[in-house]
Symmetry: D2
Subunit: 342 residues, 4 copies
């Protein structure tokens, strides 16, 4: 995010569509960012009390189309359930708004591709919310790659384990572990390496909760990635690491290895008679990636201002889905499977 001489910091007027957990995360971060006005918050369940609760926003509405009708609004954040993403993206693009859309960009291929085409045709900016791209630790790996410290990339390793499984309700409508959880890792695999995956092999199992298996999903997986450039990668996923949110990445190449370790609750250790103990990795993803979420929005706003290109494009959003689809196919077939193009 080198800032050129034409860099502007002019005010951007936005609307937030959907005020669930992630909508609230973005709302709080926007309060910490200069030169952005939240003109609207839209949510179908919004009430009069929201005016006080979200006093940073000028107007609370229940119909997101009110936002799209307002010519003052430059950009919208789409934070609604996944199945609504394509339709809202299409409407926002047609209204000429720049779009920040939470991941994944949709569930249904046909809808996703229609939204993708509409965004291209309407020539609006579109960013997918893969927040981990904005984590400073992972960015340091990319710095090392860009700086040619790594040399030829050979092995990528991603450890990504949740602290605890989601509710069974959530599991059932999540689209499965690959579309819900691994999709972040698939995006990171492409972001960290700047390379495309050719085929995927999955060894997966239900090891944590049989109810997840009964719902047709798995909770533990090792995913091998074979890239088009010959390098290889592996992702290991678990829905439950009792010691916290385990998020590590290493990139190994001919000139060296860059490795991002977990962020711990504190740097403090205790040396006692039995052992030396330190704090665990931060437990909750919102806490772990609190700064990444803010940086993500700042980057999007700068893209809206025209200061740089969007850092995580619609294509990126679709390619992560293609990887998730290939993973599901491999789990079902028990064999490596090719990754489909857009």
């Amino acid at each position: 995010m080198e800032k050129g001489t034409d860099f502007t910091n002019k005010n951007v007027t936005i609307g937030i569509i959907g005020m669930g957990r992630i909508g609230n995360v973005h709302y709080k971060n926007l309060k910490r960012i200069s030169n952005v006005s939240i003109k609207y918050i839209a949510d179908i369940i919004a009430t009069d009390e929201w005016t006080a609760k979200y006093n940073e926003a000028q107007k609370i509405v229940t119909d997101y189309r009110e936002i799209l009708d307002d010519p003052e609004v430059q950009a919208v954040l789409i934070c609604t359930p996944t199945d609504l993403h394509p339709e809202m993206t299409i409407a926002a693009a047609k209204a000429g708004k720049d779009i920040f859309c939470e991941k994944p960009v949709g569930f249904n291929d046909k809808d996703i591709l229609e939204a993708f085409e509409t965004v291209k045709k309407c020539n609006v900016k579109f960013e997918v919310g893969f927040n981990r791209r904005f984590d400073k630790n992972f960015r340091r790996i990319v710095d090392h790659r860009k700086n040619d410290d790594i040399g030829n990339e050979q092995i990528l390793k991603i450890t990504s384990r949740d602290p605890e499984p989601p509710s069974m309700d959530y599991v059932k409508r999540s689209g499965g572990i690959f579309m819900d959880m691994t999709i972040h890792d698939f995006d990171m695999a492409r972001y960290i390496t700047d390379a495309e995956v050719d085929q995927v092999y999955v060894a997966g199992n239900v090891m944590i909760d049989q109810k997840i298996g009964d719902a047709g999903d798995i909770d533990t997986a090792i995913i091998t990635l074979q890239f088009k450039n010959g390098m290889m990668g592996v992702i290991d996923n678990s829905r439950q690491a009792v010691y916290g949110y385990d998020q590590r990445i290493e990139l190994f190449g001919s000139k060296g290895m860059s490795k991002a370790d977990n962020v711990l609750d504190s740097t403090t250790t205790f040396s006692g008679e039995s052992d030396v103990s330190s704090d665990k990795p931060m437990f909750f993803f919102l806490q772990r990636y609190i700064d990444a979420y803010k940086t993500e929005l700042e980057s999007f706003l700068d893209a809206v201002r025209g200061n740089h290109e969007v850092e995580c494009t619609f294509e990126d959003g679709i390619k992560a889905i293609r990887l998730a689809q290939a993973a599901k196919k491999s789990l079902d077939s028990g064999k490596p499977e090719k990754v489909q193009d857009i």
Copy 2:
């Protein structure tokens, strides 16, 4: 900060007096805190443009007494130069406002004690801004002490080194290294151990910049603390650690040792042909203690609400000054010196 059953989260109306660097830090943090209204910002150089710049505040004034006259204001933050602290404290206390005052509480003993007495007589709350008490890493050491993991305290070690010396202008009006820089470490020595220091011995020298010596100050020091309970401590200070802001504490006792290490810029390492390299400690104190500053204000606001006692009292502010005074005396005499009571 255990929150009891009577815990309230009612709104607190405040005014900020002085909008220099630290005033701005507090202003930004207040924007991230719920249930607090900034009714006033007072600064003798405030202009009309500040209304837009500090739009979270309702009124911008040049005379802080306007704030004190407003019965709606419950508390003030005093962020002006040190020599003004006592007079403003006295005025605010007489106006019945609770007070958060930046460190040190003053330069002149007579003024400080007058302010101290006035605060007691007026029965208002008073907190000194020793932000490091609110750093989560150092708090973990205190947790270990309170939890009796440490056993009998025996040795305290504080490493406190700045990334670069301040300007010579700043050095000249700083009150000297002990009053300006070590004062934080003196407060931490008392906070971490919950014990009082009996005598102080200083080995100090000018090793970084002769201009600091010409101004009658030193830039490097090792300070031995002998506590009333028999335990011992050592602080080492430097005005310039080229690798960043070096802030480490360890507390050693009969049952174990708790040790807080530096916070690094990232958790990412690079393993190359010559060595394994990791990021440096965060360079700047505002970045290093960004969360501590926010926690500090939250704690003060909760004290104003009556949820708990003030966590860093006027006595604490004075005792840190007494330690700085004893250190200066020891540097001059070349011998250990007793620490004066309040």
Copy 3:
């Protein structure tokens, strides 16, 4: 290696067969071990000068059968090239000697199984030299598993990268990366988990030196393991990590994770203006595993004395080969392959 009440420390008389690199390693370690006499060293190229060079040994011979003929000798160490292991094992077993044999136990399945049967029939002790089982760091993981700290095992990860590729001569007669290098990791996969592998999938490539590819081998691999008990594992191998010998293992389960990190050249770091640098992992396997080699021999000698069972059996040696064979098959077929039983 709990030592029971019947523990004896009586002297053991041994002979070493083969004095190449690994024979010399064992010779030096034996000098540090009490209650063992090296009666013979046998090597086809031994000369009179060896008497002075290996003065710990009583006799230097060129024909290993001289050792087998001596009734005073209780045990032999077979340290010759792999293709000679089965024939020497059979001869030693028939002579009633306990046997320590370097890995792998042989190349040819028929010979290996004949040796295996002969050892069983002759009822002599037989230990395979998988030295990593005796590394104190990896043993701590096993301690944690045995202590039920891990809970149900779910994910095993082994990183195993050499500091530099062997000579092309060595590559050509090595039996391929799986039989030469990964065989250690296959043994560790079984040792760390105490579980058996059901099927193996390999993504492998030539990324370091095309000459290795020209010789029909690969130099980089990611190997997925699916265990019979449902858990999964992954091994990543590289013939060249420029930062040294990279040997890490982690075992993740329902109750926690145990992780062994690399052993560095020193614990010393340097914090400078650009970064904080630490020493690299130890470069050479003999240095990294110097203590493990000694512990391995001590354990074998204690097995010979009857103090405990052999810690790494002939079956273990064969099963590691079965894993290597399945890996080769998967690399060729591009699909996951079942692991054959003994």
Copy 4:
């Protein structure tokens, strides 16, 4: 220890005088070193059984003067109680033997100086056994200093804490904590910095065992060092760190800081529900410094061979004693005290 072109590796014939704990350490290490013959072991309590027990030695004697009378012996290791060091040093020097003498070089100033003069007059080599100088971790700090990575030295910090207090018998004849324990740290202060100490200030106390106080000694101390070149240092000592042998050093200067951390029992950690735990520092000094003791002897033997200068001289031995004497004086006077020259 750069080895020049004239480097020789000829055999050295030695005798060990005194076979207590440290004599045994050296005996075991000598078995691992090439080109050295142990011709004699002398101990007043030696018995016939020692011939088998110490079978590496050719002769076991009770009178050390037998060793000195043998012209084949080039060098002796003096490992007897401290009060015998000067008399044995004098006898060995007069017999023309090179001398390795355990620390401290003596208790009584008059005897020490007589031995010192005799060694100079007889022109034999003399090395004091300050083993920590040969620890690879601390040597890395010296490497950084010599490489000018540190720049101008400003602050030295030595943490040196024993895992448990010695027996009261030992305490009583130890010469006090400074002469027995801190003497190593005093030597390290000079070795690490290559600078001389001007004055010393001690804050010391009895915090672990009142019986130590009753014997006229202390068990906990913070010792400030002021060097002739203006830099400062601090040593903190405790007779009891429940988590193991705590041996850390850091050297801070204008260009950076080098820091040697503890050596842990293993590199393995366990991440569980409550915390992440790692192994403790090695508990026992013989284990912690096992390699340093070997390197120390190798260096001495190379000095005997004429390959390099003695690395830890008689002067070094005396200067460490001068520092211990100044520390005792400061503890008694409560003031900083000058360090006497030889």
